[in-house]
Symmetry: C2
Subunit: 393 residues, 2 copies
Amino acid sequence: MNPSRRDFLGIIGGAAALPLAARVAQGSPLRLHVAGALPAGVQAQQGPVGGGKIGYAIVGLGRISMGQFMPGVKASAQRSRITALVSGHPDKAARVAAQYGVPRNAIYNYQNYEQIAHNPNVDAVYIALPNGMHAEYTIRAAQSGKHVLCEKPMANSVAECEQMIAACQKAERKLMIAYRCRLEPTNLRAVQLIRGGYVGTLEIIDTGFGFTIAPGEWRLNKKMAGGGPMVDVGIYSLQACRYLSGEEPVEVSANWSVIDRDGRFTEVEENLNWTMRFPSGVLTTCYTSYGANCGNTYRATGSKGWVELGPAFTYEGIRMRSEGQESVAIAQPETDRYPDQFSREADHFAECILGNHEPVTPGEEGLRDEKLIQAIYESCREGRPVKTAAAPF
Amino acid sequence: MNPSRRDFLGIIGGAAALPLAARVAQGSPLRLHVAGALPAGVQAQQGPVGGGKIGYAIVGLGRISMGQFMPGVKASAQRSRITALVSGHPDKAARVAAQYGVPRNAIYNYQNYEQIAHNPNVDAVYIALPNGMHAEYTIRAAQSGKHVLCEKPMANSVAECEQMIAACQKAERKLMIAYRCRLEPTNLRAVQLIRGGYVGTLEIIDTGFGFTIAPGEWRLNKKMAGGGPMVDVGIYSLQACRYLSGEEPVEVSANWSVIDRDGRFTEVEENLNWTMRFPSGVLTTCYTSYGANCGNTYRATGSKGWVELGPAFTYEGIRMRSEGQESVAIAQPETDRYPDQFSREADHFAECILGNHEPVTPGEEGLRDEKLIQAIYESCREGRPVKTAAAPF
């Protein structure tokens, strides 16, 4: 399925009169929540609408788990709690368990991971492992009867993404890819402004996300990461072009380069830029880097105005500037503060499990980005544009 | 000639010890003036270094002549004066002549244009006609023994550019293309910072320039304009990528689109985006539009910092933000105020004539951009990247 812009507008912009549940129940792969049509997790923060919390097993005690997701759940989640840990470091796991009130018998390792099947306090897993391990640990969780919230990028290949979706379908478990910005108020507001006609007809999107990476990170290892800055942070710009336009690109054209010959970039690209053409004629320019701190921003410009976010993709402090049609309200939502983006994410998935809704960003959404990422890399390798319209979504 | 980055650094960054005249005399097509090595016209503003002024005949009394160039010369030029007018509107010409103290017998039209040959007060012409007329009026001026300062874009084809260069060479007259930003202090400062290592190794440039054009403009007529926003304002981004990197692109890849079907874009593109690869690995993303007011900015990011200009290309108010190596001075120059960019331009060319120097942006520089613009259009038409490294500059 490859929804047209009209379909998308019907689902989002034009469907404002539909009750939330009806909209959430629609299975469009391009479904986006906008302010005024808040996702489940966001509502939950304003007060639980029913009993129960979802218990998460945290898989991988790295930077994003320890620094973001777990503090987020602890600080502000309404529907989520941390009930188990999965780690290869028993001492670290014991310390973290004590901090989060996780019982010692709910600490697992990568060998006995499937034992979570027997823990009734674990409803779902949060997978925050290196990208190359996402598929295996998603599939093993589904086979153990658990729902899966998996960090982005979904996996390192289209085949892996498809296997993850199939495993969750077979086990009748939900799968969500952790695209924070799809639940973040300022990004949602940008989508709402654009859908509401604030910028007139959308024409141009320019976006980038890059930073200087330290040597030795697993993200520089091709097998673990699947790619360089494109899969890690370029994916935010890729997502933004899709959610801002409400369309799927028909063609991508890309270049990559390595400039800093300091040993960091022997396996993955250092810099990558790409353009996309969309069916309506919207053109996008995108860039990403591990060698240059080129910020994280987008600017979407139409016939009658523009919306700019900078920073656009950070954990907090996301800020909008805009100029457009005054008839469209432009009140700026309060930006999430650290670590609320992660509790939103946890609670949204919890609400989906509790209410049997599909998440905003199911596995199919991660698969879609993976196909586009592979098309972008193909364009780099072959030195020619790659058509993407025919990709059977 | 296709200078390498090293050559360029030698000419600009590394040549700071050379006296100005020696640097100016070097014939590199990539020569750029940077703060601390000010072009001739800039020095002149600090006090004439010798006698004499250059008399300009203004060819075409349109927006840029009447609103920018002539007020600029009147307000602050030290080496330039307006001594003749060439116009198809006798009444308008008479009014303007009175305003600028141009004698009635120094008003010409497009038929008797060659009569400027007999006017000893005319040393040079300033050509501000629709792009499609640049070649003819440059060649006729050269054949009449006058130097030529011609607005950008130089012309509508590579052949026209070559004919203009040949005509000026044959007549032993100077030819300069009016690239304002190559003399503008904040842009020059950006170049100086980058050459000085402020951003470390340059990796990524992102730049755009677009606005919403009114119906009925000659710029929407293919024959008069030669193209759409690419040739009109995209050329600023093209220039910026070249002067910031100090390199020539080896490949361009581009897309165009028309979205607004309101009759404006029946002959020229509405939106165009393109990427360029440079020999060092620098990657650039660029966009331009006549349908969307996407601003005029660039951000050049390297391994250790970035320099951003926004607005970057306006007649006044150009502003820099930056973050980089503190060891490199970052004092911001005072931005030119309206209409000083034009008096700088006039005086720079005047000094080149008086001192027999080559201008910063001779005809060869306009030709170079025209070749790249044609490569960009070729990429749009053919849907593939176009190699540019082999272009025999």
